[in-house]
């Protein structure tokens, strides 16, 4: 009996160019696959992609709007990337974002007599802590008790989203409109604009700082060394004297905190009041962005920008060509799948042969 056998062999030395080019190739392939869907809809894919990119970066206004969209994506992308570096599989950035937004709303609704600088700084601190608390629970469970983090972080999302829903339909419901949304937070907690006459706010700077912070932690500190070693092989790291339990717990705090900042940024920079849909899945997009950015902070920044282009541009594309706006989700999904396939090729080579 002889069958064709397909085997995956681990590459000993993956070529460097492959590493840099992987995300670029992944984007090109995913746009190519998306083009098939556009063709099915009877649209010229080149026209469609032109509208997409023009709609996102074609004008100054569009460009700034794109950066507004990129802000939460950078933050969740960094949150996930630093977690994945330690192999803390944080699927819970979404819930941590909501935790941050919830805490910032609570603090903002207090209308404390504080100057904007202090109020905003405290908002950031409170949001970071809330996200961190929501993430350290599964982080601790993983590190100390080996509880599967994919499951716990994912389920924590639903808990937080329903808590927010309960608050918005209960004590925080807007008493005037009766909509399930809170009233506005203190004006002193509003994030100032970075560019006048636009929606771009200082949350974007917070995101840039998060990128730099991750680079700094991973590349310059002892903690970063420990995180990378833990992620590369927890068993060996433990044997070689690294406290892997501590590394995972600290990473879970940093990761959740940064995801919480995405919530603060959306609340204080864009919405000013808490709504049920404050995140249309930024936490989940963060996973794709972190993978596409190969867990490298600069890579994460660039892939978040790319995703912001797809999301904002897809809107323009959809109303210009009369196609459903969900095309943006399709492109995002295809990008992830292609990227995962590329990463597999990056680590393994496929060997086809005959088996006995």
């Amino acid at each position: 009996m002889s069958l064709i056998s397909i085997k995956l062999e681990k590459r000993t030395a993956p070529p460097v160019w492959f590493q840099v080019l992987t995300p670029v190739i992944a984007i090109v392939i995913s746009l190519g696959i998306s083009a098939i869907f556009l063709l099915i809809l009877g649209k010229n894919p080149f026209t469609a992609f032109y509208y997409m990119f023009y709609g996102a970066i074609g004008t100054k206004f569009a460009f700034l709007e794109m950066l507004v969209k990129a802000t939460p994506l950078i933050l969740t992308g960094i949150a996930v990337a630093i977690a994945f570096t330690a192999k803390y599989w944080n699927i819970g950035a979404e819930g941590q974002l909501y935790a941050g937004a919830l805490a910032a709303t609570w603090f903002g609704l207090m209308n404390l007599p504080l100057s904007p600088v202090i109020y905003i700084s405290l908002e950031i601190l409170v949001g970071f802590l809330a996200g961190a608390i929501w993430s350290v629970v599964p982080g601790y469970l993983k590190a100390e008790l080996k509880v599967d983090d994919v499951v716990t972080t994912l389920l924590m999302n639903y808990i937080m989203i329903y808590i927010v829903s309960a608050l918005l339909n209960g004590p925080w419901r807007n008493p005037v409109t009766m909509y399930p949304s809170s009233i506005a937070i203190s004006k002193n907690a509003f994030f100032p604009k970075l560019v006048p006459q636009s929606r771009l706010h200082i949350g974007f700077l917070v995101a840039i700082i998060a990128v730099l912070l991750m680079y700094f932690i991973v590349r310059k500190t002892k903690l970063g060394f420990e995180i990378r070693a833990t992620g590369a092989n927890p068993r060996a790291a433990n044997f070689l004297g690294i406290n892997t339990t501590k590394s995972i717990i600290i990473v879970s705090i940093i990761s959740g905190g940064i995801a919480g900042l995405a919530g603060v940024s959306e609340l204080c920079g864009v919405q000013y009041h808490l709504i049920q849909t404050i995140s249309p899945g930024y936490g989940y997009s963060g996973i794709v962005i972190a993978m596409l950015g190969r867990l490298n902070p600069i890579g994460v920044f660039l892939s978040a920008i790319y995703f912001a282009i797809v999301i904002t541009g897809a809107n323009v594309m959809s109303y210009s060509l009369n196609i459903p706006p969900y095309i943006s989700d399709v492109i995002q999904g295809i990008t992830l799948i292609v990227m995962l396939a590329m990463l597999l090729l990056f680590e393994y080579r496929i060997k086809v042969g005959r088996s006995k």
């Binding site: 002892k222 990378r228 060996a236 044997f239 690294i242």
Partner: protein, 512 residues
């Protein structure tokens, strides 16, 4: 007597490693034949060929006089050959009954027929004294019971030749006795048993005939009534180890590492260390000989700080270090060369540089405060690369890309650069070529001459004899004896006997 299985001129190589070299082996009807040998002698390889799991390079197999090709375990089972592996092949979440009938065709093509199989299972269980609850899930069973399920599985498929690979390794003495009774029943029924073991005592108890393998060849074949443990030990260990010369004299000083009454369980919950005590002195190599799986791994892990003992204490320079973390143990001056260099000793997916310094990167000159000075790290790493002659494209090369010998040199460089007080080296040259082996031996002896106490755990008797000042033999979690080479000559037979479970006797010394 009738030959049920005959293997002729079997040869099997793995890359450059000859596992079986022209082996001839037969099994007669109604006998228990033991395959005796050290680790790596080729016992399991030979049996996996018979069971269709490995394909032989050359040779012939006859079953009941007919030449056969066995390409898969399924072929083997159809020929009446069953095997119980060291690591069981049971589905943990299924019941005993479900595991037994797994893979067999059902009478009814649409429904799983369980009543008839249940009756048959119960009959087998009763006939051979193999007690199991057919409805228990595998994960609920202890290892002894799981082994019974494996045996029933084979009997259910009507095998007439049963291969057992080190069956008693996971059993308590009582369970072993029960197993032996069952095997006697097989024999009376005219079935044959191939019993793989390295334990002399049980081989002498159970077998009719004993075939001894060494380095992939048959080094002897004896009927039980014609032999004794002493002769078997010599055949198993071989005479060639006599040639080993000790390189240098002992310079032993004060005791530095002291182990007191250490007991521990292994991963399977079996007692792996039974209250052992010994000490390692400054400037000596204490070699730990023994067939692997006799507690060496647990001893290594406990001293290295990755396993907690049940009871007992470890002292370094008089200071109690029992239950210290790996980090504390490293800082106190214990250098560790672990058995599993790929999984414990190195992180393969980071640069060589970081593996070189990982045990001391967190203190000056590499780190200051919370920061790591990567420029300094690189300088130190490059020096180590040069000093220890490690072949890597650069310090930034991914560790995975290095060869086996160079990987071990990375660990050696890391450990020796810290001038440890004690080195725990486990199988330090396993799988390495001659050049790398010599280099590592040389470095270990260098460290010893600088006053480091070395605990050398090895399955390679030549290595033990080459390097050790004292030799300690472990068997089933106990120390069978410690031979001080300053005071007495090493008797290789004694070591062989101790490794296989007999304490050395006065008689033995007189014989040589």
């Amino acid at each position: 007597m009738e030959k049920v299985v005959e293997m002729k001129n079997i040869r099997k190589t793995f890359l450059n490693n000859v596992a079986n070299n022209d082996i001839n082996f037969s099994v007669f009807k109604g006998e228990i034949v033991s395959l005796l040998g050290e680790n790596g002698a080729g016992k399991t390889t030979l049996m996996k060929i018979l069971y269709g799991m490995y394909s032989k390079d050359s040779g012939e197999i006859y079953v009941n006089g007919n030449k056969v090709e066995i390409d898969s375990p399924k072929d083997a089972i159809n020929l009446g050959i069953g095997m119980v592996h060291q690591h069981f092949t049971l589905v943990k979440t299924l019941s005993v009954l479900e595991n037994v009938i797994l893979g067999l065709p059902s009478e009814n093509p649409f429904l799983l027929e369980l009543d008839v199989p249940r009756k048959r299972l119960m009959k087998i269980s009763k006939d051979y004294g193999l007690q199991v609850n057919p409805d228990a899930k595998i994960w609920q069973l202890c290892v002894g019971e799981q082994q019974r399920v494996e045996i029933i599985k084979a009997l259910y498929r009507n095998v007439s030749v049963l291969i057992l690979d080190e069956p008693t390794a996971v059993l308590t003495p009582q369970e072993s006795e029960d197993l032996f009774k069952t095997l006697d029943l097989f024999k009376k029924e005219g079935k044959s048993v191939i019993f793989i073991s390295h334990k002399l005592e049980e081989v002498m108890e159970i077998s009719d005939r004993i075939v001894i393998l060494r380095n992939g060849t048959v080094s002897g074949e004896r009927r039980k009534v014609d032999t004794d443990e002493r002769e078997l030990a010599r055949l198993m260990v071989g005479k060639d180890v006599f040639d080993a010369i000790r390189h240098n004299k002992s310079e032993a000083g004060e005791p530095i590492l002291k182990i007191e009454g250490l007991t521990a369980f292994n991963d399977k919950g079996v007692k792996a260390l039974k209250g052992i005590s010994f000490e390692v002195k400054k400037g000596e190599v204490l070699g730990v000989a023994g067939v692997s799986g006799n507690g060496q791994k647990e001893l290594e892990n406990i001293i290295c700080g990755v396993k907690k003992p049940e009871s007992g204490k470890i002292f370094l320079n008089g200071e109690d270090i029992t239950n210290n973390t790996p980090k504390e143990i490293i800082k106190m001056g214990i250098g560790r060369i672990p058995e599993d260099r790929m999984e414990d000793g190195l992180i393969l997916d980071i640069p060589v540089l970081e593996n070189l310094v990982i045990e001391f990167y967190d203190k000056p000159p590499i780190s200051k405060g919370i920061f790591v000075d990567y420029a300094n790290m690189k300088k130190i790493g490059e020096n180590l690369l040069k000093e220890y002659n490690i072949k890597a494209s650069s310090v930034f090369a991914l560790t995975r890309t290095l060869s086996g010998g160079n990987l071990q040199k990375v660990i050696l460089a890391r450990v020796l650069s810290q001038n440890p007080k004690v080195i725990i080296a486990s199988q330090p040259t396993r799988g390495l070529d001659v050049g790398a082996t010599e280099y590592i031996h040389e470095k270990i002896l260098d460290a010893k001459s600088r006053g480091t106490g070395v605990l050398l755990i090895s399955e390679d008797l030549n290595e033990i004899l080459n390097l050790s000042d004292r030799i300690m033999v472990m068997y089933e979690g106990e120390i069978m004896g410690i031979i001080d080479r300053e005071k007495e000559k090493v008797n290789i037979e004694d070591i062989g006997l101790m490794m296989a479970g007999s304490r050395c006797s006065e008689e033995g010394h007189e014989l040589n």
